[in-house]
């Protein structure tokens, strides 16, 4: 046997296993016609191939019975209890794209305070002297804090021009949201990944000129008959001498601090429902580039589109969000708080966590919207009085623990949500202590 035979024996093995090319087959046949040793080798390999096929056919003959035994074992096998709660996590884990990263959580945070200075009274506002000097203001810059100023929560920095707001969060400086109140759209730009998200806001009243709105609301607060305006006198706040007015209403309380010389408001503290919002460092008529407020997607950015209904959030949306926060973000633990300000503080961490889950863009957007609707239920709470949350330290599935209760509008009873996310109607006297 020579080196040609060695090569041909490879060809013979390939011929038997059916992987020989036409050209190789031609060369092999030519060789076999001249080499009885290789002919014999080919013959033996073919015979063995038949035997192998027969052997495995025999083994396969019992395959159906073997499989049936496995199926019976599967049927009688007890599934571990934890497999079900992982459903949501599993459902959103099906894809592998991670680029969209932190966007979803940040978008939600950007949405939360879009109404912060919305008119809680729906009143016919009139002009007021204190804001006379800003009547002609075209732009404003302000910092917003949701919650307590002394907390370490992020600062929302807004630049306002006409109906548009350019918003950044101090704990997510790479993400810019441009909010157009006129058309009810938000454009979110994520610089590091060059991604853009257009969000259509449903349920947002058209506010063609945010500056005008701001003025009118401030003025209206002072003149509305239901409001009691209290003069707070002058005080030093953050190194600045300011004069204050507190306007009180059964459902809201607003404190305005203005420059005593210009009468321009520089700080507004607003309490609406269970959310505190502080606007500070307000400045008017700063020169700003119009391009900063452009709703056009910058070149090279990849665009996503979605919509969110600001007013359409239901109890079920709130519950679904709790489920996501526990299962996806909390390792089975319900969140410590459902307050908007606490969510905003956590937003970057939530974004990071979402990024690590390896979700597709759509999955992240869906999850973001779920969280969004969950928070909007609290943000635009429509029940009577206050909501109560007691989910801190409770694990998802603890059916005996009441975690949230509220009184729906015009309802004699309360809705109580439990740790397993079931809901019951409960009379006021039977509410959790």
């Amino acid at each position: 046997m020579n080196s040609v035979c060695d090569k041909m024996r490879d060809y013979i093995a390939d011929m038997v296993t059916g992987t020989l090319s036409q050209e190789q087959a031609r060369l092999l046949n030519q060789h076999l016609s001249q080499c009885p040793t290789c002919r014999n080798y080919a013959h033996q390999l073919k015979e063995e191939d038949l035997l192998l096929s027969e052997l495995f056919t025999n083994i396969s003959a019992d395959m159906a019975n073997r499989q049936q035994r496995v199926l019976e074992a599967v049927e009688s096998c007890c599934l571990p209890k934890q497999s079900k709660p992982l459903l949501i996590w599993r459902t959103i884990m099906r894809s592998r794209i991670t680029k969209f990263a932190a966007a979803a959580a940040i978008i939600v945070a950007a949405l939360l305070v879009v109404h912060f200075i919305g008119n809680p009274l729906g009143s016919n506002v009139t002009f007021a002297q204190v804001i006379q000097p800003i009547l002609n203001a075209q732009t404003a810059v302000l910092d917003i804090i949701v919650g307590n100023e002394l907390d370490s929560g992020p600062v929302i920095h807004d630049m306002v021009m006409g109906s548009r707001i350019r918003r950044t969060l101090s704990n997510a400086p790479d993400v810019v949201s441009i909010i157009d109140l006129g058309s009810g759209k938000i454009l979110v730009l994520i610089a590091p990944t060059k991604e853009a998200v257009y969000i259509d806001l449903k349920g947002l009243p058209s506010i063609p000129n945010y500056m005008e709105r701001l003025r009118n609301v401030i003025a209206g607060l002072q003149e509305h008959p239901q409001f009691k305006v209290e003069k707070l006198g002058e005080r030093d706040i953050a190194g600045q001498r300011l004069i204050g007015f507190r306007a009180k209403h059964p459902k809201a309380e607003i404190t305005i601090w203005a420059d005593p010389e210009t009468a321009l408001p520089v700080r507004i503290e607003q309490n609406e429902g269970q959310m505190n919002v502080i606007c500070k460092n307000i400045q008017f008529d700063l020169a700003m580039e119009e391009s900063l407020f452009s709703m056009d997607v910058p070149e090279g950015y990849k665009l996503q589109q979605t919509e969110i209904d600001l007013q359409g959030s239901t109890e079920q949306d709130f519950i679904e969000g709790l489920r996501v926060r526990a299962e996806v973000l909390g390792a089975g633990q319900l969140p410590d708080s459902v307050a908007v300000e606490d969510y905003i503080k956590e937003a970057p961490a939530i974004g990071k966590k979402l990024g690590e889950l390896g979700l597709s863009e759509k999955e992240q957007a869906d999850l973001g919207m779920k969280l969004g609707r969950h928070l909007l239920f609290i943000r635009f709470f429509k029940g009577e009085g206050e909501w109560h949350y007691a989910g801190k330290g409770v694990k998802l599935g603890e059916a005996d623990k009441a975690i949230f209760w509220y009184q729906p509008k015009d309802s004699p009873t309360y809705r109580v949500i439990y740790g397993d996310l079931s809901v019951k109607d409960v009379a006021p006297e039977n509410l959790p202590k």
Partner: protein
């Protein structure tokens, strides 16, 4: 009656996670044959292969929630089977033997011995594991080298090469046996 379920592995995995055993049963029907072939390829023993293939399928059911990419079920369950086979070999104190297989110094001794297939069975057991696995899977999978390559996560040419070498070495083992 043959019931064809055209749901993807990915969807069946999701359903299985929700406790839907009928969905997992379809995964079993779809993949059991390959798992068995892999076990037979490693263990060279039909009975051991049957036991371990069943264990692998049950372990897959219990661990299904840990599988993050449902479409990878096929490879995932094969990996589980492979690990269980290795555990068994260890338990049987065959580790040394298995390591020596590459040097063709020995292999698992098959228990199933139909007369006419005895030599062949014995010879397959003498092949190194790296060649025996693709060879067994090849004959179990209608001689589809491409499918073997995908399951073993190797190239098509690599799979062909291993099957070729396996066939050649098998012939040598058989020839030596007859000559003795």
């Amino acid at each position: 009656m043959l019931i064809v379920d055209d749901r993807s592995d990915e969807i069946l995995v999701v359903a299985s996670c929700q406790g839907d055993k009928s969905a997992y049963a379809i995964l079993v029907e779809r993949h059991y044959r390959h798992v068995f072939a892999m076990c037979l390829g490693i263990l060279a023993d039909v009975h051991d292969a049957e036991d371990i293939a069943q264990d692998a399928m049950l372990k897959g059911l219990l661990k299904i929630a840990e599988l993050r990419e449902g479409e990878q079920f096929g490879r995932w369950i094969l990996q589980i089977a492979k690990n269980l086979c290795i555990d068994l070999l260890r338990r049987q104190k065959r580790v040394k033997l298995a390591a020596n297989e590459a040097a063709n110094s020995g292999g698992a001794q098959p228990r199933q011995t139909t007369n006419e297939n005895h030599d062949l069975h014995w010879a397959i057991g003498r092949l190194p594991k790296e060649l025996r696995i693709p060879l067994v899977m090849y004959y179990f999978d209608n001689k589809n080298a491409k499918a073997i390559a995908e399951r073993l996560n190797i190239s098509h040419s690599g799979a062909c090469q291993r099957i070729r070498t396996a066939r050649q070495q098998l012939h040598e083992v058989l020839t030596r046996k007859i000559a003795r």
